[in-house]
Symmetry: C2
Subunit: 241 residues, 2 copies
């Protein structure tokens, strides 16, 4: 049986970058191996960290200009990358190389507990990402990584990025559920705070190495979340799976 406060939950929706997949190690390893084959040099660790730091500001620009057409994350990633490649002085990258790097986000590897935890949770609950990634990105990631989602929800479905309310409430609406029947799962306290304020249930899982030596936040739960666990197996335990 799930914890009493989670009794009415019918669906779990997941933050993806950092919560489900280890973007930092995945991208650094991917680019290091790829560019070794291409005989290119670059500070891939520095570039990946800077790329991720460009993530929130790039989405904020979309969020603060709702009169402009929505720009999906693949395209924001491409814009940031083109700037960073110049800033890092990386020479010799072709257009195909840049495409390969942008689709690195489609090839991210899950944390070791993820596939087994999701597989257990799927027996009782509807499972979907609710990510700022676009549906095409998330679908390819799921196929590459074997993530057993029931459906795929990304920011482009709603024309909004988290933490805009349209994303959390749009997810509940698409599932024909009330917000209290949906649990947001994230390694980021601010994502859960936004979901909780709209009536969703919440589950926190710590990913203390997400940002490597740059990690400053989210070593532990800082809110009154419905479930707090050390990994996805722990969420499955507490949700009665």
């Amino acid at each position: 049986m799930p914890a009493t406060s989670a009794t009415h939950v019918k669906a779990l929706i997941f933050d993806v970058f950092g919560t489900v997949v280890d973007w930092r190690t995945s991208l650094i390893d991917d680019f290091t191996a790829y560019t070794a084959r291409r005989d290119l040099q670059g500070d891939w660790t520095g570039l990946v960290d800077a790329w991720r730091q460009a993530y929130v500001p790039s989405m904020d620009e979309v969020r603060k200009n709702p009169q402009l057409p929505f720009v999906m994350l693949d395209d924001l990633h491409r814009r940031s990358l083109e700037r960073l490649v110049r800033e890092f002085g990386i020479e010799g990258l072709t257009d195909d190389d840049l495409d390969y790097m942008v689709t690195g986000w489609h090839r991210l590897k899950p944390w070791p507990d993820v596939v087994s935890g999701l597989t257990r949770l799927k027996t009782k609950y509807i499972l979907s990402p609710l990510s700022n990634g676009n549906v095409g990105l998330l679908t390819r990631m799921a196929k590459n990584a074997g993530l057993p989602w029931d459906l795929v929800m990304g920011g482009d479905l709603f024309g909004h990025y988290k933490p805009d309310p349209e994303t959390y409430l749009g997810a509940a609406r698409l599932l024909n559920l009330s917000p209290g029947e949906v649990m947001m799962v994230a390694a980021h306290n601010n994502d859960l705070a936004a979901a909780q304020a709209l009536g969703l249930k919440t589950a926190f899982v710590a990913r203390p190495t997400e940002y490597g030596p740059l990690q400053k936040l989210d070593f532990e739960a800082t809110g009154d979340w419905t479930v707090v666990a050390s990994d996805f197996g722990g969420i499955a335990d507490q949700m009665g799976c």
Copy 2:
């Protein structure tokens, strides 16, 4: 290897009612068993056939009034059912009974070749429904029936019903694919004609018992479709899976 004309296909999107699931037998069997337990009487075959006949007109009302808010299929089903229950003179149904019957569309059974065919196709292609059903309906159907979709696309994602172009083109856009990289699979020639006119590839599979004795159309392919097969296994064969 797939047929030459299907070489560039990356995703297959499926009509659902009739193509993937046998709505008629599923609903008649479901309601017969359910109402026997409730000691209720009704012409369930007649009601199910009439319910399906109300399907296209009910969507056409939405399609022809784009200034009004989109109404998802679960709600159209409920409206039609309430009218038909009166017309068929069925007495004693509670609100819970009507809910049960509307969610009968969430419990439809697949044709026998479907799960094995999709499982083969999933190894090489992105698979999604592109149905006039809403995402919540399609997600629950997939969990009940074990349909291994990669993602779930329903009319409510686009605020349109097929054959509106927004559905076919919206599916390609969400997948970051060009129309020619997407193949529409259906047992209905008119669905394929609408998809083909927009540049999608097409696959026809005959479901000659879909409408039981009322079947008048779609005994065979009537257009120049990319693939014509007798079941989903045949599509997998021709698509190189």
